[in-house]
Symmetry: C2
Subunit: 341 residues, 2 copies
DNA sequence: TTGAAAGCGGTACCAA
DNA sequence: TTGGTACCGCTTTCAA
């Protein structure tokens, strides 16, 4: 059932039916009632493509997820974020379109998204430091919100991010207060902005106490258990082993912990560990998760918030960029104790 | 830059340019070269809506996720599944459209998805027992694959599911072999098909040994830690407490474990626990995760597989329904021991 | 081998 | 208050 058929069925013109359905004031109340009744009876829904073509609005939001050509797995946090956002869009009659874009030829991909015209705005995930996508999107005039931030991008843009720097600053301070002086940082890939900021927080805390960051105690790789294990083992085998570790995620922390246990050392006594995780914080009673920013459901909520920001930007394109910083929550667990003397 | 502009730029008709770009044979090779060169130079991408309107194909796949009006959180497993599927679609030039549909007025929602016409097929998540959506989708003639199955639906349809019944049958058998005779089942909501099948596996194992399932030892609720805790505590306080538990998820198991510990009992000696989890199996060395079906990355892979099934169905609508059953992997951890005598 | 024109299903301007 | 018509950007039939 399309508009033409529905209008024929009613003995009205498509114009009138369209107006009745879309709430235009110049339709008589009686006609509107009749049209609406017939529409529900006949199960009429407008064709979204045709509507989009005619109006220039897609009533859909794109979520662009980076897909590395090197590793198969997409960061699972995006899933929750998108779900949360999707719930918000759904309430406003928008849909979500997910584009997985691999890291080669990104620019073309974004231009294509614009040209394809099936989204009214996008949310950009996984920003790198100094991410060129921001300038590009601005140039393309496509409303966007960044999930995360891009250090060294000076022009203003809309973003929503957790305060990774402050979280790692606080975690480092906590260990320093416990007397630790050699703290290993088992970080994520530092071209990713969040990892860069985490390192900045770590460094900042050290420097504030007059300690020089030791390159031998800093690692940066993709966050896997293997990587956590290997990094911790290497550092513990080194000439001046750390007495504590900061891990980039729970998975990394599990590797770190295994390395510690393999050395016959006791967690929280010989070596302390603090980790961060968005997804798994509800496990903090089972595994050691002393610091975390968010539960999975609060990642969903962050997605919801980002969605509202973007919808607002779309409705009112002239407003200044919106930003939102989420503070991390700090919880200390049993795997963290004073530095051994 | 649209087709008309591009063709004007080239001094050709839109028709010819369209043909050149879409690989029609009747275009001279010279012209095709020229057109393609200009298209990339000018950064031309066809407008997806217009293309869709003209061709009747959307080049997009819908994922329909149930959104309960009661609880905010969308099942996080869907996120991973959709990401995995999205990667597969991306390689074939398809996009993902996510529709979060709440459980009221589902039928209208599905009819609207069809009428809106912006997807060529859908993947249905979270099927209930005897789910009416399957008959509806068949009637709507919209190609679909179910992530999960719907018990008691007799007509054939395409699905991909993990073998929940067999997993719980094996877990129950394992406990029975260890001498346990009173096994508590802390199940998910049993109108959900996967939970229904899990209970069937549990019951099947008991009956095969001539044991009658005891209603006092079976619970069915939404899977939360609180629920796991309360159920286990109640059962342990009952007249004939269980010596082992089967938990529906890691989160539930954590609650169960807490209840056991609160009673001053020792896990794996006084009371055993086996749980199932798709998401968190990599934590099996840290928490007790004796049985699991899949890691998060293998959930993504399941999504990829479902995506291929659906694309195949779309390309070849006359083929019979496709089905795929994933076997669960069974791993036994330290929280599971022989029944106390 | 190329182009003109109709149509996909809507919206919106202009006229009645 | 209603209807005729052009148009959104592309594909496809038919004619040249």
């Amino acid at each position: 059932m399309n508009l033409k058929e529905l209008s024929a069925h009613l003995g009205l013109s498509p114009t009138t039916v369209s107006r009745a359905l879309n709430g235009y004031p110049e339709v008589s109340e009686k006609t509107r009632q009749r049209v609406q009744k017939a529409a529900t009876e006949q199960g009429y829904s407008p064709n979204a493509r045709a509507q989009g073509l005619a109006t220039g609005r897609a009533r859909a939001i794109g979520h662009v997820l980076p897909m590395s050509t090197q590793h198969e797995m997409v960061n699972p946090i995006f899933g929750d974020f998108v779900l949360g956002a999707g719930a918000a869009y759904a309430r406003k009659g928008y849909e979500v379109v997910i584009s997985l874009v691999d890291d080669t030829g990104e620019e073309a991909a974004y231009r294509a998204i614009k040209a394809r015209g099936n989204v009214d705005g996008i949310i950009v995930h996984g920003p790198h430091m100094n991410d060129p996508r921001i300038a590009l999107l601005r140039e393309l005039q496509l409303p966007f919100v960044v999930h995360g931030r891009a250090s060294f991008v000076t022009e203003p843009y809309s973003w929503l991010d957790t305060n990774n720097q402050r979280a790692f600053r606080r975690a480092t301070d906590f260990l320093l207060d416990l007397g630790h002086r050699r703290i290993g940082l088992v970080n994520g890939l530092e071209f990713m902005d969040f990892a860069h900021r985490r390192r900045a927080g770590y460094t900042e805390a050290l420097v504030a106490r007059g300690l020089a960051p030791d390159p031998a105690l800093m690692r940066s790789e993709e966050m896997t258990e293997t990587y956590g294990y290997a990094s911790a083992r290497d550092m513990l085998d080194g000439p001046a082993p750390p007495t504590a570790f900061l891990a980039a995620s729970m998975i990394v922390a599990i590797g770190v912990r295994r390395a510690i246990q393999d050395r016959g050392m006791t967690l929280g006594r010989d070596v302390s560990v603090i980790t961060h995780d968005d997804d798994l914080s509800y496990l903090r009673n089972s595994v050691d998760v002393p610091i975390f920013t968010a539960t999975r459901s609060s990642v969903q909520k962050a997605g919801t918030r980002a969605a509202h920001m973007l919808l607002s930007l779309i409705d009112n394109p002239d407003q200044p960029p919106l930003t939102h910083l989420l503070e991390a929550e700090l919880i200390i667990g049993s795997s963290t104790g004073p530095a051994p003397s």
